[in-house]
């Protein structure tokens, strides 16, 4: 076995941690902008979603693209709002907070799982080195 090879589980677990960190970033952006009526381009904030991609055989994972969710904006009846249209509706971001909460839970669990893999692998290597003594 090559010396470099014993480090590849570390690299893979770290790539999983980094990808889930990025996912957290995307989720926090979605939650922070859940009520942003103007995202700078004249329309409300569009929900973002991270798309993961695996590296070549037995590699890690990385965030390939951050895609915008093109589903319809939420229409809220708010006639007093200065941005309201003639029927009294305003457009609000297509962020669904319960969905974001679920994604946040999933991201947290996957992060924990990757950290557990890293820790277990370190223990495995230590156990192996115990055999030398």
């Amino acid at each position: 076995m090559e010396v470099d090879n014993i480090f590849s589980p570390i690299d893979i677990a770290i790539s999983g941690l980094q990808a889930q960190g990025k996912q957290m970033e995307v989720i926090s952006s979605n939650v922070a902008n859940a009520r942003t009526g103007d995202a700078g381009n004249g329309e409300p904030y569009r929900r973002l979603e991270a798309a993961f991609k695996s590296d070549e055989d037995m590699g890690g994972v990385r965030v390939d693209k951050i895609l915008a969710d093109m589903s319809d904006f939420l229409r809220v009846f708010d006639p007093g709002n200065p941005h309201a249209d003639e029927e009294g509706y305003i457009a609000m971001p297509n962020v669904n907070l319960p969905v974001e909460m679920m994604n946040l839970n999933i991201a947290t669990r996957v992060y924990q799982a990757n950290a557990a893999v890293l820790k277990r692998y370190q223990q495995m290597v230590e156990n192996t080195l115990e055999l030398l003594r």
Partner: protein
């Protein structure tokens, strides 16, 4: 009683099925691991000096790992790098490499001592 026996044999069947050696993929080259061949003529005999030299080479590798680990910690603390995970990765690698080095070194020193204490 019959039930229990049936259960036990079921479990042992499952275990046999799982651990059956045939279900494991054969290694590409069975000679590349396991016991070293005694008196093998194809490979040059490794002596103690070679082992020490290999450890010396490995020390420089471990030193590189430690260097990059120290560097990433410094970068993190000075604010140049905000990625904690890359620091974790570098530190884990350096730690692992160093532990392997210490294990091999202890074993070599032990072998040297045993040789030196041999009664002539």
């Amino acid at each position: 009683m019959v039930n229990l026996n049936a259960n036990v044999s079921g479990v042992s069947n499952a275990i046999n099925g799982f651990w059956k050696p045939g279900s494991v993929q054969p290694m590409a080259n069975p000679d590349s691991f396991g016991m070293p061949k005694v008196g093998g003529s194809d490979a040059k005999k490794a002596d103690f000096a070679d082992a020490v030299k290999a450890v010396k080479d490995y020390i420089s590798k471990v030193d590189d790992l430690q260097g990059s680990s120290d560097m990433s910690i410094k970068d993190l603390l000075s604010g140049r790098n905000e990625d904690i995970l890359s620091v974790v990765s570098a530190v884990a690698k350096a730690d692992m490499g160093f532990k392997l080095l210490v294990g091999v070194r202890n074993q070599l020193i032990e072998a040297y001592k045993q040789t030196m204490n041999m009664q002539l």
